[in-house]
């Protein structure tokens, strides 16, 4: 009787074995993780990282200075191609011109807090930073280390032959964008602000005309990406670039004061 049981159990296990090892290779999806949180340190950090990316205001408010969330720019919680996807763990550490150092993914995350979220740079070992790093690792599962993932960052727009024209940009903005982002760029209802004190600051990557143009061309108006011409995207991006927004945190307020005094 007992032996029979054992045999049945054993053969069941053998049958299950391939599916079990299969399940280990395929990591659980975010939805699965959310409903049944893994208590494993890694997966709990992945979930925490996901929550921070999608609701930065709630889960990482300590370091945030404006009203944006990471996922306002890293669309679909960093999973959408050509919208600054975050499956980039394999690309780091890497040399960057912005600060002239080799950057780990940690520093990259901290910089988006400082510039894009116009906040405070969190410490290297802040739980928020570690959690986002875990989430980025999780998203990068299956990518080739060191190889640029497909659709990384935003598309680089080819030279159109014309300089970006902010005046044109203004009319594009009022036609296409202000219904969501507001005439003063403040963001209507739940929409994110594109300028003003509640938006990214002058040091942010999004404040670069080409970077923003690529983002806007591929993804905006929201849900209707690639409907603008590339020239329109460049124009509107130049217009956004001219608007009032928080100062670049890399500028010394002291030097600025001296400058103001001398002029």
């Amino acid at each position: 009787m007992k032996i029979n049981h054992l045999l049945i159990c054993g053969s069941l296990l053998l049958l299950l074995a391939p599916t079990l090892s299969h399940a280990q290779q395929n990591q659980p999806s975010i939805e699965q993780l959310l409903v049944e949180p893994f208590l494993d340190d890694y997966y709990s950090n992945v979930v925490y990282g996901y929550e921070i990316i999608t609701d930065t205001q709630k889960h990482a408010s300590r370091y945030v200075g404006n009203s944006l969330d990471c996922s306002n720019c890293h669309l679909q919680a960093g999973t959408q191609k050509e919208a600054l996807p975050l499956n980039v763990a394999g690309m780091y550490p890497k040399w960057r011109a912005k600060n002239g150092k080799r950057n780990g993914i940690g520093l990259r995350i901290r910089e988006c807090f400082l510039y894009s979220l116009d906040g405070i740079m969190p410490p290297e070992d802040a739980p928020e930073v570690l959690a986002i790093a875990a989430y980025i690792t999780y998203l990068s599962q299956g990518e080739v280390m060191g190889a640029e993932p497909e659709g990384r960052g935003v598309p680089t727009l080819p030279a159109t032959g014309y300089d970006p024209n902010p005046a044109n940009g203004r009319s594009v903005y009022l036609e296409q964008c202000s219904s969501c982002h507001g005439e003063q760029g403040e963001g209507i209802e739940e929409m994110p602000a594109v300028w003003g004190l509640d938006s990214y600051n002058k040091g942010a990557g999004m404040n670069g005309i080409r970077e923003a143009a690529g983002f806007i061309w591929a993804n905006m108006p929201f849900g209707n990406g690639k409907s603008l011409s590339q020239q329109q995207a460049l124009d509107v991006s130049a217009y956004l670039n001219l608007q009032y927004r928080p100062a670049d945190p890399r500028d010394s307020k002291f030097l600025k004061l001296l400058e103001d005094l001398f002029n």
Partner: protein
């Protein structure tokens, strides 16, 4: 009731004192600053409402360090799982303390010698100083096992490791504190914090953050009623077994400190204090703490002292303090955002340095056993950590205590009828050996043993007398015991032999 103003003012000062402490202790516990503030509000509130004394409870150094020591190996600092574990640990601590109350355990803390408590406090002070160096020098991702390794690495790699901006802020905070103390012994911590904060503002004004890489406190998402339900989960329970020894240590250390404070208050003021009720208050407050997003606390020496010097005598000052913390942080929140961590660490440094008292060393140096306890506790803490140090302190205190009570005071008088032996102390299995020597040196003589100053006799002592008396009878000598009524009853019950003559006094 003309006194309520005194109590309210004392509460106000207590609130100002506890805010920097709550924030820094939260850091020691591996938690975000707001948890320390919640601790300053809710633990203080509950233990004052439930307690009977003017003791100020709330965030406590040793307790905070122990939380960090216990939970950091299990999960990443400050992550949600980490916080769950901390809350679970806190609930255990509260339950254990309530168990202490049920068993009327307050008495056992009398066995922890004052030297051990001072040694623990000095050791904790040392650990605080080492922890504060992390933030003063901005060594965020940096781990060593022993403090001297850390010092060695810092010194040998100073130019690479040390953040000069952070160092300047830290040093100005410490200097501000020590200079401020000359002028105001009570508010110097506040002076230190303000100096550090202003210095931080100046640094931030001249150099931008991407250059200085300074760490700031950041915005605190504070709520007035931060309810939380600690999640207890089967899978957690497996790992949380590891927390149990720490829960006992924290429960013990928390109560030990609180009871030392309360006992002092009871002796030196005329407050109507019930020790058991205080244990109950601490236990329940700590048990409730995790439900209000707070970690556990205990009585605080420094805040209770300040409270007393302002004339507070009732638990109402603690209740007022909790209220003022709530009001103050609501208004101070935005200002605190740009508080440099180095300034917080500077105040921690001062607090830590204050806990290592040279006068303690001199005081305990007078009695060798006390000095041994003090130094052994201190040294084991700085090398092996707080938990080990506390175990050693308890072990040593109990050993010294046992050694002391197993000592007998024996005096020998030669009378015509034989030798008279007066025994002072407790006569039990551990001390009977001392008697043996005396019996041997007077072997063959008539012996009278005076037991009226003996505090306790146990079975093995009686057995000893019976054995010796039969030996002596073989030599023709006689054993006489001078006893009181109670001892006579006890000896009768154990069936004393007829070789022994009993004389009641």
């Amino acid at each position: 009731m003309g006194d309520w103003r005194t109590e309210v003012f004392a509460g106000f000062v207590g609130a100002i004192l506890v805010i920097p402490q709550g924030i820094t202790y939260a850091y020691l516990a591996g938690l975000q600053p707001e948890y320390g503030l919640y601790c300053a509000i809710f633990v203080t509130l509950f233990s004052s409402i439930l307690g009977t004394s003017s003791m100020m409870s709330g965030p406590n150094t040793a307790v905070a360090i122990l939380i960090g020591v216990a939970v950091l190996p299990l999960a990443g600092r400050g992550s949600p799982v980490y916080i769950d574990f901390v809350f679970l640990l806190c609930m255990m601590v509260g339950l254990i303390q309530l168990l202490f109350w049920l068993l009327r355990g307050a008495r056992i803390f009398q066995y922890l010698s004052p030297a051990a408590i001072s040694g623990i406090s000095a050791g904790a002070g040392f650990l605080i100083i080492m922890a504060s160096l992390d933030s003063i020098l901005d060594l965020s991702t940096f781990r060593t096992t022993f403090f001297y390794e850390k010092l060695y690495v810092i010194i040998s790699d100073a130019t690479d490791l040390v953040n000069p901006y952070s160092l300047v802020i830290g040093i100005s905070t410490i200097l501000g504190g020590y200079i401020g103390r000359r002028y105001s012994a009570r508010y110097y911590i506040i002076i230190a914090v303000c100096t550090g904060y202003l210095c931080g503002l100046l640094v931030a004004f001249i150099w931008p953050q991407p250059l200085t890489e300074l760490e700031y406190l950041g915005r605190m998402p504070l709520q007035w009623l931060p309810f939380s339900i600690p999640s207890v989960n089967i899978e957690y329970l497996m790992t949380s077994i590891k927390l149990v020894p720490y829960a006992f240590t924290i429960a013990f250390i928390g109560l030990a400190q609180s009871l030392v404070i309360v006992r002092e208050l009871k002796m030196e003021t005329d407050q109507d204090i019930d020790l058991d009720k205080e244990v109950y208050a601490q236990g329940l407050a700590n048990f409730l703490a995790p439900f209000f997003s707070s970690f556990v606390g205990s009585g605080s020496f420094n805040r209770t002292k300040a409270n007393r010097s302002l004339g507070a005598t009732t638990p109402f000052s603690g209740i007022a303090a909790a209220g003022f913390v709530l009001i103050l942080i609501t208004f101070l929140g935005p200002v605190l955002t740009y508080m440099p961590m180095a300034a917080m660490a500077g105040t921690l440094f001062i607090v830590g340095a204050d806990m290592i008292k040279w006068s303690d060393v001199k005081h305990y140096a007078q009695v060798r056993s006390e000095l041994v306890i003090y130094l052994a506790t201190f040294i084991s803490i700085i090398f092996f950590g707080l938990a080990t140090g506390i175990v050693i302190a308890v072990f040593l205190s109990v050993s010294v205590f046992l050694l002391r009570i197993s000592q007998l005071e024996l005096s020998v008088e030669n009378k015509d009828s034989g030798t008279l032996l007066k025994v002072k102390g407790a006569l039990f299995y551990a001390s009977v050996a001392h008697l043996t020597e005396k019996f041997q040196s007077h072997f063959g003589e008539n012996l009278t043993v005076d037991l009226q100053y003996t505090t306790h006799i146990d079975q093995s002592a009686v057995d000893f007398f019976i054995r010796e008396s039969s030996n002596m009878a073989a030599q023709g000598a006689k054993l006489t015991l001078l006893i009181n009524d109670q001892q006579r009853r006890f000896l009768k019950k154990l069936g004393i032999s007829s070789d022994i003559e009993l004389i009641s006094l």
